[in-house]
Symmetry: none
DNA sequence: AAAAAAATACCTGCTAACAGGTATTTTTTT
DNA sequence: AAAAAAATACCTGTTAGCAGGTATTTTTTT
């Protein structure tokens, strides 16, 4: 007796992967295929193609990077505007930035996970999202704090200096940082000055590249 | 007649992958396995374990990320000090920073590629490295130039504007750019202004992230 | 030859960042 | 309790970037 098709070949979830890092994109594709649950119907390396391709291919699930040139993950999500259909979106990011996560939540995406997630856990997350669950990383705070402290130690930055640095990363001006921390403008300037003296970056590029490596 | 073992099961290259991003690490592992040429004997997610594990497992090849917490790729390379044995090292980085590449060259690593490399090309690179070749991203300028031109078209940037943009990336001030291009300070400012109007970045972070995607 | 696009140049005024100070208070360590 | 480290605050002056203009010349396209 031959089993019915639907049992032997259960419907696989149709996935589109969007990531400019080809290696990651290709690796992700293999991870999903290997699970046996997903069928990667398209790999997009340039987020500007997302809208057209997603419209024509109608995937069940989109697994997308956050940091991409031209159009970042958030912009793509807004462009896709999946509110009409039931395409699920999962964001895979390098960072667990609270504010960013909030923005994605508001856009109604299914999950936000970091690239430090193991493959097995990713599959679990995707399964849950396909079942309608919403998952947002917030628990692995401990790890991030350890990394941060380690960094602070390395560069002899104080707690307050690290706080200021994080706010600088979040595009805050000295004035706004002062407001946020309830400090005088001058105090924040002093902290900035001391940070600069300790880190001694030669160029702004270097500084901004460094900021990228900071969590939160 | 049974073929000799070495033909049916040619010796696979023993690889250790070092990357704190589990998803990338796991994906890379699948890419290497799928090629049939490599055997992933260990996946390291915390670079601080690299020294001990590489010493005991003696891999033929190490595929390693550059940006990692605690110990970055360069520090690990220096720690491993593979000059004594013939373990090859390939660095996979997010950025193609010339200065960084130079540092790795000096340390004698086999290749430095970016995460935008497709999986097929990665395998080719690894094969070549195992044959003793050294590969450092710089020749695939053609591709990058095409991307750039494409980019210029999409954003309607003129040739001159692209030239100015490249110099901005190189940390030049408006004044120096003017000198370099033999233009008036005001002219360069006008170009900058027009670039800004065309690209309309919301934040400096965005702008610097974008600059990273541009090649010299 | 005319029109459009690109490149050139100048001017004003504002703002944020930053360098180089000084100085007091609070917290932590010895 | 004393010393050291961290956090607080203020002041001056410079500079680069940028927004908002105007305007001429050169090159390219139609």
């Amino acid at each position: 007796m031959v089993p019915v098709l639907s049992l032997k070949f259960p419907m696989k979830t149709k996935v589109i992967i969007i990531d400019d890092h080809s290696l990651f994109n290709d690796g992700m594709s293999l991870i999903l295929k290997e699970s046996g649950l997903f069928e990667v119907i398209e790999q997009i390396y340039d987020s500007r193609q997302a809208q057209t391709k997603c419209f024509s291919l109608k995937p069940d699930l989109i697994v997308m990077d956050y940091n991409m040139p031209y159009l970042d993950g958030l912009e793509v999500v807004r462009q896709l505007n999946t509110s009409g259909n039931d395409t699920k979106i999962v964001i895979v990011s390098m960072y667990a930035d609270k504010k960013e996560i909030e923005l994605f939540k508001k856009e109604g995406v299914g999950a936000y996970i970091t690239k430090t997630t193991p493959a097995t856990q990713l599959i679990e997350t995707l399964k849950k999202v396909m079942e309608g669950e919403k998952l947002f990383e917030s628990k692995n705070k401990a790890k991030i704090i350890i990394e941060k402290d380690n960094f602070a130690l390395k560069h002899q930055l104080t707690k307050r200096e690290m706080e200021v640095l994080r706010l600088i990363k979040q595009e805050e001006t000295t004035e706004k940082i002062a407001e946020t921390l309830n400090l005088s403008f001058y105090t924040v300037e002093t902290h900035r000055k001391n940070i600069n003296h300790k880190l001694k970056f030669k160029t702004k590029k270097e500084f901004y590249a460094f900021l990228e490596t900071l969590e939160e």
